[in-house]
């Protein structure tokens, strides 16, 4: 393999000529090996001795091929070089045409991810018309008539387009973290090139979506023929780069790494049509292999005349030259290992991420090969997006066996890794890489525009659980969460944005069911039971890895649910020491660990949804809220909302409950579907709001919050109540923010604050707590009134007052006559319950008292 490629002519043009002195080119001569390796593996960069733009079948090809004894005798001799995926003498010669020191001084690096493993069907030039001709016919442009065989890619056009893309593409709305610090109104990739010239890391990551929005045709070609197009991109970018920064010194030539190809998002959708195309899939790394040195080029030396030759790997095999070209001795060539060229390779197995999977099936796995500097970039457990070329390799035909397994092995040659959870480690934000289609976003926005979206979503939450509207609303707000604020500059650190909720109530009020539902709804949820979990199980523990015998930190439920919700059932059954762990998590949202020499602080930005039974397992109406819950006050104050789930023991409620339960048992699945939003919709809605909506407080809202807080301080001084702390103000803010997120509103307004206040009050049933005694009055709870109902009650009470006042000075009245009177006066229908409530309201005002069937006026 000496001539024509390593002829002086080739070397002169070779962009890869190493500046090292000839003296170093001893038997080791790595620079030249590297250059050769690059040429061979990329294929496309193969410099042709002559470079007329239209000449594909250059005489170099037959010459080249005659060196080897071809592995397949039936193949025509001139085929090998033609078959290499690309032959653009043209582009590469063009590169050389205008000699630039920068390009020439920089060695190109092999791209085994694209070339060497290629199993493209061989071109049979005998049976097919010369490829270029056919293409010429279709191509109107006379100047750019050459396309790569088997594709419709014209190298020149492709390169030009890509250079134009690099020079012109601007994405003002870019929000990727990689682009931070770049001026969004300048061409994005030119800035990146500049960055490369400064940093010296010769990798240019290109977002395929950008390419698509810039030039759909180019994008299509990139997706369909990555093996041909990406090297063209490489060339284009290098030309451009060295034109711009002629003096910069790079270790290698720049490689283009496209990512975010929209071809396939899901491993399950891969099918034979994706073979040899550029795909992006997401998954989780489950295994990585040791580093595998893969031979790229074998170095053979003749034992007779010491003539040496190099043979590139071809479809995973090295064809040993049978005859020495120099002395014509047969079978005299021997492989010299330490002059052969190897590249790094690693086998990685990735598994479908659990979110992508249909129910009832096991996750698929795919083999991925990483090459060169991508080796060891990922560890098992990482969630990554991979962009690469999908390959299928037939099981190797064995000469001794006529039958082979008719199965291909498939793998992906990776071009680009992107860790999806990297951001979490940087502690920036939780923006899950969830993409929404246009239509989906539209539907979500339509839904958000509805005036009753809040009620709708709340009722869609756990539809099988009856009523408890406010609790569902509270949980809904928890799912949305507040806006994350960073005050670390002023020394306060992060403000907690996650809402914590405690459900406390009688046994059998479907608390566990609610928790289970939430756990199933959120993408990163954990469910633990206070009874079964220890402090260690919640936080983290250190154990010895059975394989490596090293101490490793195993994270517990709280850490695992970072950016999710941690559902803790049987909260009251937890031991005190376990519960104390929660203090840090629930306010600072970190977890400090000092165990077995491992001292660290982990992020645990989790919302806690806890369920507890009252201390006597049944709610004791004779006791105050605090006495019933019996949890340390420090912990209680960390819950934004504490809901009491009580058994109301009311006939009307029972009836509705019975109806609900019975219908649960006989309604068909479809009937229910119609009534509520489905879980997927809810999930998307929440994900969208969490990602894209970051509401800020408006002026009026701030005022309303201040007033609310002052009010709360006043009320809270009553006996046995949960009194207000600055924490409560914070939680009000969080709730208001969450509520405006529900509306997809960027601004927190007064209605949000109103709702936050109402929920907060409702949560503790403070409206139902008799301020004189601090007891919860169950009979008031049964009404379970909403804000509008309360308003109506107020109106009825006022009307009743008028009726009584109209009667003049009668100290006592019959209950029934009064009801009749009120009914006569009122425009709307007055039920007995409403009347009772009005009476109660008035008696609360100390206006009257009710004893049996008589109503007495006071004062």
């Amino acid at each position: 393999m000496s001539s024509p490629l390593s002829t002086p002519g080739g070397r002169k043009r070779g962009r890869t000529t190493n500046p090292s002195t000839p003296s170093s080119e001893g038997p080791t001569s790595p620079p030249f090996q590297r250059r050769r390796g690059q040429d061979s593996s990329t294929g496309d960069l193969m410099p042709m001795p002559t470079s007329p733009p239209t000449d594909v079948l250059s005489p170099a090809a037959p010459l080249d091929n005659s060196l080897f004894s071809s592995p397949r005798p039936s193949v025509p001799p001139n085929e090998v070089d033609m078959s290499s995926p690309l032959m653009y003498g043209t582009p590469s010669s063009r590169v050389e045409g205008t000699p630039r020191s920068g390009v020439r001084g920089t060695p190109a690096r092999q791209r085994p991810d694209l070339g060497s493993v290629s199993k493209a069907p061989q071109v049979d030039l005998q049976s097919e018309p010369p490829s270029a001709d056919g293409a010429v016919a279709s191509e109107a442009n006379a100047g750019q008539r050459l396309v790569i065989w088997g594709t419709d890619v014209n190298v020149g056009t492709c390169k030009e387009k890509f250079q134009r893309f690099l020079q012109r593409f601007i994405d003002p709305s870019s929000s990727e973290d990689e682009n931070t610090g770049l001026d969004l109104n300048e061409p994005l990739y030119m800035q990146k090139l500049e960055e490369i010239s400064v940093v010296g890391d010769p990798v240019l990551n290109v977002n395929c979506l950008h390419v698509q929005s810039f030039d759909a045709e180019l994008y299509r070609q990139l997706i369909c023929y990555p093996q041909e197009v990406i090297p063209t991109f490489d060339m284009a970018v290098n030309e451009l780069f060295f034109e711009r920064f002629p003096d910069s010194i790079l270790e290698y030539q720049i490689q283009v790494r496209p990512y975010n190809a929209l071809k396939t998002r899901n491993m399950r959708n891969l099918n034979p049509e994706d073979i040899d195309q550029l795909i992006t899939i997401s998954g989780m790394v489950i295994r990585t292999s040791q580093l595998i040195p893969e031979m790229q080029e074998a170095f053979f030396q003749c034992q007779v005349c010491a003539f040496s030759t190099r043979v590139e790997v071809d479809r995973g095999r090295i064809a040993e030259p049978a005859v020495c070209r120099h002395c014509n001795t047969t079978h005299s060539l021997a492989l010299v290992h330490n002059r052969s060229l190897f590249s790094d390779k690693q086998m990685i197995k990735i598994q479908e991420s659990p979110d992508d999977m249909p129910a009832g099936q096991t996750p698929h796995t795919t083999v991925v090969y990483a090459h060169n500097d991508l080796v060891d970039k990922v560890q098992p457990g990482d969630r990554i997006n991979i962009t690469g070329v999908y390959r299928a390799v037939p099981m190797r035909a064995n000469p001794r066996q006529s039958n082979v397994k008719s199965v291909y092995k498939t793998h992906i040659d990776v071009i680009h890794f992107r860790k999806t959870d990297e951001k979490r480690l940087h502690g920036l934000d939780d923006a899950e890489q969830k993409l929404f289609t246009e239509e989906r976003v539209q539907t979500l926005k339509e839904l958000a525009a509805k005036p009753d979206v809040y009620e709708r979503l709340a009722s869609a939450l756990a539809p099988s659980i009856y009523e408890h509207e406010d609790i569902k609303k509270g949980i809904l707000l928890q799912l949305f969460g507040g806006t994350r604020k960073d005050f670390s500059q002023t020394g306060r650190g992060n403000f907690r944005a996650d809402v914590n909720i405690l459900l406390c109530g009688d046994p059998g009020t479907s608390k566990s069911q609610l928790l289970q539902y939430v756990f199933n709804l959120v993408p990163r949820g954990q469910y633990t039971s206070g009874k079964g979990s220890s402090a260690v199980g919640l936080t983290a523990y250190v154990m010895k890895d059975p394989e490596t015998r090293q101490l490793v930190l195993q994270t517990g439920a709280l850490v695992l649910s970072d950016n999710g919700i941690c559902c803790i059932d049987e909260f009251d059954k937890m031991s005190d020491s376990t519960r104390s762990v929660l203090h840090e998590v629930m306010e600072q949202q970190t977890l400090s660990i000092a165990k077995a020499g491992i001292i660290c602080q982990l992020n645990a930005r989790t919302s806690v949804l806890a369920a507890a039974n009252p201390i006597e397992s049944q709610w004791n109406p004779k006791k105050t809220t605090i006495e019933n819950i019996q949890l340390p006050h420090t912990l209680l104050s960390r819950f934004d909302l504490i809901f009491l789930m009580l058994d109301p023991q009311d006939e009307a409620y029972d009836r509705r409950l019975a109806h609900h339960l019975v219908s649960l048992y006989y309604q068909s699945e479809e009937q229910l579907e119609e009534e509520f939003l489905d879980m997927a919709m809810l999930r998307d809605y929440i994900a969208y709001a969490r990602t894209y909506i970051n509401p800020k407080l408006s002026e009026e809202a701030s005022q309303a919050l201040i007033e609310a807080y002052v009010d709360m301080r006043k009320i809270g001084s009553g006996r046995g109540m949960v009194s207000a702390y600055p924490r409560q103000l914070e939680s009000l803010i969080r709730l208001a923010e969450a509520h405006s997120k529900v509306r997809f509103s960027e601004k927190v307004e007064t209605i949000d604050v109103e709702e936050a206040k109402r929920l907060h009050r409702e949560a503790l049933k403070q409206s139902a707590t008799d301020p004189r005694t601090g007891f919860v009055d169950i009979s008031i709870l049964t009404t379970g009134m909403s804000a509008t109902a309360r308003k109506r009650r107020e109106e009825v009470a006022q009307a009743l007052k008028k009726v009584i006042q109209a009667k003049g000075k009668t100290p006592a009245m019959k209950y029934h006559t009064l009801l009749e009177d009120l009914r006569r006066q009122s425009e709307t229908a007055i039920t007995k319950e409403m009347f009772d409530e009005a009476l109660r309201a008035l008696s609360d005002e100390d206006y009257l008292t009710v004893t049996g069937k008589t109503v007495r006026l006071l004062a």
Partner: protein, 612 residues
């Protein structure tokens, strides 16, 4: 090019038409009789590349594989290029021209299938006798003798020290002759030695039977893990497969780049074909039940005659069964009633996370003498198509793998005892509990059991995350006191037998009814479970009224949960009587039964005051 692809299509077409032909034939009623079954005919009696059927359970799903749908091969004798089809085959013929452009790549999926876990011996027996005519000419040596079976049992007894759960697994009545065949099958196989170290990954310990790799060519998305299916397909036992596997393993050492699979993975994904045959699926139908006494196709279609006749008899059969159970449960009729309800229960739907229709029964107060629970299980095993006895000994809880776990080295799902098919009866014997400490595994196992009971789901362990698989398993807990596991319903057994006679009585309960009666019971339980059910509006109203009234009387004693249970009891009671809608009578009866049970619980609470 055009020509080639056309030719390829022609071949495909012929295949498709033949597939259609087979499918039509298989839909015929007697299809199951003339196709030999892998379940009961030993593998070496089956012709390679012939049509067989297999009643199986999808234990694992492997990655999809791409194969050569059509390919061009060179005939070694004539040197002519021939276009061939790779569908329904494992190996290619002749020299394949990999570079031919008429090669078409297609996709197929591989499922790892095992016989239905915990299938009762009587099911095997009946289904194998049903298809006896399909048996391929047996060789002269083929004679299932009693001697062989007893030899095998000895074998098992010797194993008991090493395998704790086996010992608890009651050896029941004659194992179907399937086992003997299995034994026979292994003996002549040269692979017998290698079989010992090849783990066939059965969910339950001590299971036997053929497993196979099922190749699915279409509509693979319709299959679910843990589904029971009856597959008709082409059997492939080409020795080339195992040979290839060996070669690959050795070559992977030489060429690390080629060996993307570890040795373990190789062993699991391409086991010797003589042990794990490949089955290329032509047609499959999901099994709503595996009771051979029932018509295979569900009850809904074209079996109305069968259905109506069974429905008419149901009340009578129920009475007989009740009497039988009352006898077994020491004369406790109420417990017997609940046992029937439990056995016909079925998760018929799920409302978000809530499974509806499950009815886990905790039978407390089981006498601790004369291995009552084990005898009791044997009786249940005689009646239900599949079941599993799990003695909750400390050792079992701490050592058994209940929850399936993904083994990333071998890239397969290691099965666990809770990977069970729909409607399997899981018998938890809590009377085996002893003093001691549960370790981490034990705690995890108990949690898994609790989850199974409360939510009818099992969280499979994928080491980096857990994945939830819904299931439908009837759990029956036999305990002395109240069970430590949750349950939908607890009933305390009240023995009507005087303690001195207990031993003798228990010794006698195992007397089986006649075969015809047993079959009636078996059929009854399976049919009742499959019936549809509805509640009419009037009844709904009265149920609601009843609930409100009950709450009015005593709001503390009856909660939403009680209503849930009562609705389930009413449903099961109606179904057990063969009624497909709730009548007022059944509702009252359900209420009555529940009341009796509750009052017994109260009583019991008073007797041993320390019980919560």
């Amino acid at each position: 090019m055009l020509f080639c692809s056309l030719k390829g299509k022609v071949i495909f077409c012929s295949y498709f038409s033949s597939v259609a032909f087979f499918k039509d034939r298989l839909k015929e009623k007697d299809a199951h009789t003339w196709v030999p079954s892998l379940n009961d005919v030993p593998l070496h009696y089956l012709k390679p590349n012939s049509l067989v059927k297999f009643r199986c359970f999808i234990q694992d799903m492997f990655d999809p594989e791409f194969y050569m749908g059509t390919y061009e091969a060179v005939d070694p004798s004539t040197k002519a290029k021939v276009l061939r089809c790779g569908k329904y085959k494992d190996v290619t013929e002749c020299g394949v021209d990999f570079n031919s452009r008429s090669t078409m790549t297609a996709e197929r999926h591989t499922f790892y299938c095992v016989p239905i876990p915990g299938e009762s011996p009587w099911v095997k027996e009946i289904s194998s006798s049903g298809s006896s005519q399909a048996r391929v000419v047996p060789s002269t040596s083929y004679a299932p003798t009693r001697q062989k079976r007893s030899y095998e049992e000895d074998d098992d007894d010797m194993d008991t020290d090493t395998q704790p759960q086996k010992q608890r697994e009651p050896h029941t009545e004659p194992h179907g002759n399937g086992d003997c065949k299995r034994r026979e099958k292994e003996a002549p196989s040269s692979q017998a030695a290698s079989a010992s170290h090849l783990d066939l990954n059965f969910p339950l310990p001590g299971e036997k039977g053929p497993s196979c790799l099922l190749k699915v060519y279409e509509e693979w998305d319709g299959f679910k893990l843990n589904e029971a299916v009856e597959v008709f397909g082409i059997l492939s036992v080409s020795p080339a497969l195992s040979a290839l596997a060996d070669e690959d393993a050795s070559s992977s050492l030489l060429d690390p780049a080629g060996g993307m699979e570890t040795a373990e993975e190789q062993r699991v994904h391409s086991p010797p074909a003589s042990l794990v045959p490949r089955l290329h699926m032509l047609h499959a139908k999901p099994l709503p039940h595996n009771n051979p006494l029932l018509p295979a196709a569900g009850l809904e279609d074209n079996n109305s005659a069968f259905l109506s006749s069974t429905l008419r008899e149901m009340a009578a059969v129920r009475a007989e069964l009740l009497a039988y159970f009352t006898h077994v449960l020491l004369g406790d009729a109420l417990a017997a009633e609940y046992l029937i309800l439990h056995l016909v229960s079925n998760v018929y739907t799920r409302r978000d996370v809530l499974p509806l229709g499950k009815f886990t029964l905790n039978l407390s107060g089981c006498p601790a003498v004369a291995s009552f629970t084990e005898r009791f299980y044997q009786i249940i095993q005689q009646l239900v198509p599949s079941s599993y006895y799990l003695g909750m000994t400390l050792q079992n809880m701490n050592q058994m793998r209940l929850v399936p776990k993904k083994d990333y080295v071998a890239n397969r799902l290691l099965s666990g005892a809770l990977q069970l098919a729909t409607n399997t009866s899981l018998f938890l014997d809590e009377s085996q509990l002893e003093q001691g400490q549960l370790d981490t595994t034990g705690v995890r196992n108990v949690t898994a059991l609790g989850n199974l009971i409360s939510w009818q789901k099992v969280d499979y362990d994928f080491s980096y995350h857990q994945m939830e698989f819904p299931c439908n398993i009837n759990v029956l807990i036999a305990s002395e006191g109240r069970s430590l596991l949750p349950s939908d319903c607890q009933i305390h057994l009240q023995s009507q037998v005087a303690p001195p006679d207990l031993e003798a009585y228990l010794g006698g309960i195992q007397v089986h009814p006649q075969a015809s009666q047993l079959n009636k019971f078996r059929m009854y339980l399976s049919v009742a479970r499959q019936l549809d059910y509805s509640i009419a509006d009037e009844v709904t109203k009265s149920v609601e009224d009843d609930f409100v009234d009950m709450r009015k009387d005593d709001p503390q004693s009856i909660s939403a949960e009680d209503l849930h249970r009562m609705l389930v009891v009413a449903r099961l009671l109606s179904l057990s009587l063969g009624q497909t809608s709730l009548s007022r009578d059944s509702w009252l009866r359900a209420k009555h039964v529940e009341m009796l049970r509750r009052s017994r619980m109260e009583q019991n609470k008073c007797v041993n005051g320390n019980e919560p």
